[in-house]
């Protein structure tokens, strides 16, 4: 039975119940014109409709899950099924093909053996479909009758319906916690497995990163020193990118909030937001094709012969540009949150605008700006495509920005799409790196949110 039919059925019956309950509620009113109903007729209607649709849907869901097994059992009892091979994929494939044909989803079978199963499938499908349909209707009717009989003029339908709505809202907000749990679960097992092979000390404090996914035999923990990755991540994401993004973002925010006319602001702000909206794969392409060669030529032009095409600067510059809008919009918010009274106070002292901004507004907005920068950093160190396309793979522990460097995200992609076998520590290291990344962004965000909160409170 297709889920769509069941859905329609549940909603259809729900609608009927809705209408019936509403007219009953109106009838209460008509009988006792003076007495106010506790709840509006429409709440009575929703109450009944929910009692019809929800149990019916729940049953339909369960039925959808169990009926295929019942149908298969029915088909297997058929003599035609005796010819099927024993357990295995071929047998299942035959059943599936016959079923697809019986359901009208396919026109013919690919395996001739399946031909004979089509007819039994048709029979079984028809039978279980009608059973499902009937029971669904019964469940709906039972729910509806229960709810309908409870309706009275002073029935608290509204309270009950609203309670249902509130549960829905609560469930929706729990999705976030589930997601967080999902992330932790999906990282933690492999991470633990990895640390069973490589000591966390070697991993977190080692300065040599050269895991060999193809190696066999004993694992050499000394190859898994992730410091060069952390360094590359910080150097590209938190240093070079921020050297670009902080001054540009901050000055943009200052210009937009303090100097620009409202029309200019209206045009420029969305433009900046576009900069944040350009997909990172486009930035990556741009970085690899345009910026990186230009940077290398520039570096070689000034005599740095070791300049690599996949330089940290190229990735960092482009990433910085991408981050500008984050910094500027957070700075914008926090500067705007500084009460005008402070600005006026400073201007009235005879300060110029620049002095007012530098000495009063920016210091006052500093916590918010810092928080914005932290969020931007967390975004930069989690950025993947730009580094995958432009930063290179060498785990160099160097301060030379024209050298190639690699980052945590790059290594995650490389290890998970590489040639090593899946249970090799090199591959598993991707999960450990993911865990570190997750924890670091968690920490950055946590601190940033704390800072912002405290600072908002200071002005509210």
């Amino acid at each position: 039975m297709s889920p769509a039919i069941l859905l329609l059925l549940a909603f259809g019956l729900g609608l009927v119940g809705w209408l019936a309950a509403r007219s009953r509620a109106w009838a209460f009113r008509a009988k006792t014109p003076d007495a106010r109903l506790h709840s509006l007729p429409s709440f009575h209607a929703w109450y009944v409709a929910l009692w019809i649709a929800v149990p019916a849907l729940v049953f339909a869901l369960v039925w959808n899950a169990v009926s295929p097994a019942l149908i298969t059992a029915h088909v297997l009892a058929d003599p035609a099924a005796a010819a099927l091979p024993g357990f295995g994929f071929e047998r299942e494939a035959m059943l599936a093909q016959a079923r697809a044909v019986a359901e009208g989803k396919a026109f013919g079978v690919f395996m001739p053996e399946a031909e004979g199963l089509i007819a039994p499938y048709r029979v079984a499908l028809a039978r279980y479909e009608s059973i499902g349909l009937i029971v669904t209707i019964l469940v709906a009717l039972a729910g509806g009758a229960f709810a309908f009989l409870r309706l009275k003029p002073d029935f608290t339908a509204r309270t009950r319906v609203e309670r249902a709505v509130m549960s829905l809202l609560l469930i929706a907000s729990l999705v976030a916690i589930l997601t967080t749990a999902g992330i932790i679960i999906s990282l933690v097992f492999e991470t633990v497995r990895f640390f069973g092979m490589v000591s966390p000390i070697d991993f977190l404090f080692g300065t040599h990163w050269a895991p060999d996914p193809m190696s066999t035999g004993a694992v050499d923990g000394k190859q898994f020193g992730a410091i060069p990755l952390f360094w590359g991540t910080i150097y590209i994401g938190a240093i070079i990118a921020m050297l670009v993004a902080i001054p540009l973002g901050l000055m943009s925010a200052i210009y937009l909030t303090q100097y620009a006319s409202s029309t200019v602001r209206k045009v420029i702000k969305p433009l900046l937001e576009i900069l944040a909206g350009v997909p990172t794969v486009v930035y990556g392409y741009f970085a690899a094709l345009t910026v990186a060669p230009a940077v290398r030529d520039f570096a070689q032009g000034i005599g740095i012969s070791s300049a690599s095409t996949e330089s940290a600067v190229a990735a960092g510059l482009v990433m910085g540009v991408m981050i500008i809008p984050f910094v500027s919009s957070m700075a914008d918010d926090s500067i705007a949150a500084v009460p005008d009274a402070l600005r006026d106070g400073s201007l009235a002292m005879g300060a110029t605008r620049a002095e007012t901004i530098r000495k009063v507004l920016v210091p006052a907005a500093l916590p918010g700006i810092v928080a914005g920068i932290m969020l931007a950093v967390s975004r930069a160190i989690g950025e993947t495509m730009i580094v995958v396309m432009a930063a290179g793979a060498s785990a160099n522990l160097t301060a030379n920005p024209f050298q190639s460097m690699t980052t945590v995200t790059f290594q995650i992609v490389a290890m998970l799409t590489g040639e090593g076998s899946f249970d090799h520590p090199a591959t598993l290291s991707a999960f450990a790196l993911g865990m570190v990344l997750f924890l670091v962004t968690l920490a950055l965000n946590f601190i940033a949110l704390r800072v912002v909160k405290r600072y908002r409170e200071a002005y509210e």
Partner: protein, 328 residues
Amino acid sequence: GCGGADSGSRDQVRAVGSSTVYPFAKAVAEQLAKSDPSIKSPIIESTGTGAGMKLFCAGVGPQHPDIADASRRMKKSEFDECVANGVKDITEIQVGLDGVAFAEAKGGANLALTPEDIYKALAKNPYGKPNTAKTWADVNPALPADPILVYGPPSTSGTRDALKELILAKGCDANPEMKALKDSDKKKHDDVCTQVREDGIYVDAGENDNLIVQKIEANPKAIGIFGFSYVESNADRIKGLTMSGITPTYETISNFSYPGARPLYIYVKKAHLKAIPGLQAYVTQWSKLWGKDGTLAKLGMVVAPDAVLAESAKAVTTMPSLDGSQLK
């Protein structure tokens, strides 16, 4: 759609694995769909050999791929996992060769290298001593005194594996002491022979070979290490370097006189052969295209020697099961 998602079958072939095999597997899929419109074009995913094996070996059923493309042979451990998950019958088919080729920009210095030179230039500890070579002349006085700068594949790629096994280990074993070490202390031998230096002279260049081409074009003194197909298709910009006097060409690679050839495989899950429409046809399509004048050769794949081809062609029809005990 997948047709019968909850259980049952799939109506499209699914192959995963090596990025080296990927372009060839794509081409075969495309040809198959053109030649037989009743077959849906197979889905080819470039996951890398290891991840591909992991997916392939996860089990039998429509949710698991039918084919694993590999730029190296299946490992024993992988085979064991396959068996543990019920993937007992696997057919191994060698579809061709890939050469690890050294190349420089057109107009470069025309270095004439040997595996030994390369080993001495790139190993971390050549013959057990730290590598101090800065110019090619340091390695071999016959070579020019140009600085050594080699762009090569990262450790996660199959090409790097091939580099280690086919060139570095070979150069290393030229020294009898090392050869002896191989028998006495395998681990130490591997360390000494296959570890690549990390002082910036060998540059991990990521998976994007286009970028390596650009880089060695920009720096004529630098050398790049590629899959041979890349050298072929960029013949207007770069040229292959001779190795022990032999230029990398189709011939020299396919007869293994150029020391950088490695086999490319596809692994077929036999349990799927009957159940997945188009699987047999897809495998057969490989055999139609892997010949000397076939599409794959045009795309840069090195055709395997005739004997191998004959055996592979036989495997396509008979689908022999792989014997795990042959694997390492």
